[in-house]
């Protein structure tokens, strides 16, 4: 079974109890063809999984699952600082086994010995060194200036040297 390492960037606005939070993440996941479908397993953030009939469908459902977690965290948070703390804890919750699978998958892809499925091979490719994992959370209602450069489209990339 081939594991495909992918990277993604999401920027979302989350409404909470008296605050508006902006959450941007650069994340990692593994896409796996299994059980007649495509599963996607979070690496960072780790505690999420989804599946779909295609890699892109699995990714879309993964994005939705991620947002639903943020919405629950916003509901639990009494204030922005709580939300920030909860979201960072969720993002940084470690899964060493999944991180190792991701690193091993990157190494296997780089070795050139893995036959890559066409639907994965069509994804944009990026070197993981150029896409560090990160999370950034800001309180939007306190920003005094908004510009179009604040916008970040969802990105989904195959972790391979371009």
């Amino acid at each position: 079974m081939t594991l495909y390492p992918v990277m993604f960037t999401f920027r979302d606005v989350v409404s909470g109890n008296g605050f508006l939070g902006g959450v941007t993440i650069g994340g990692r996941a593994l896409i796996v063809p299994e059980d007649g479908a495509w599963s996607i397993y979070g690496v960072r953030p780790a505690p999420i999984a989804e599946s779909g009939q295609t890699p892109l469908e699995a990714f879309a459902k993964f994005k939705d699952a991620y947002k639903r977690v943020l919405f629950d965290l916003a509901e639990d948070a009494k204030c922005f600082d709580d939300f920030k703390k909860f979201a960072e804890r969720f993002y940084f919750e470690p899964d060493s086994e999944e991180e190792k699978r991701w690193t091993d998958a990157v190494r296997a892809i780089r070795s050139g010995q893995v036959e890559i499925e066409e639907s994965i091979n069509r994804l944009p490719k990026e070197d993981p060194e150029n896409r560090p994992a990160f999370i950034s959370i800001s309180q939007l209602q306190e920003k005094s200036r908004f510009t179009p450069t604040d916008n970040v489209p969802d990105q989904f990339e195959f972790a391979a040297a371009a």
Binding site: D35, Y41, P47, I48, L73, D76, D95
Partner: protein, 73 residues
Amino acid sequence: MAQITIGELEAMLADCIPGATIGMKTHNRVVYHPDGRTYPSLPRYDNMMVMHIRKLARFFKIFDCAKKHIQSL
């Protein structure tokens, strides 16, 4: 893909993570490990696809125990 019932999940957790609890949020079902870790993204449905439990089992490092209860893992 195989489906797992909430009853199967509860039975597995009772054996593999004694003291674990399951909570219902507005958008997800949440599993609380007694050591403080949280798995926040299980579906609210009473039947869930096996890959959700596969991930949860890896996340909490209980895969071998979980597999004894849920063979399709």
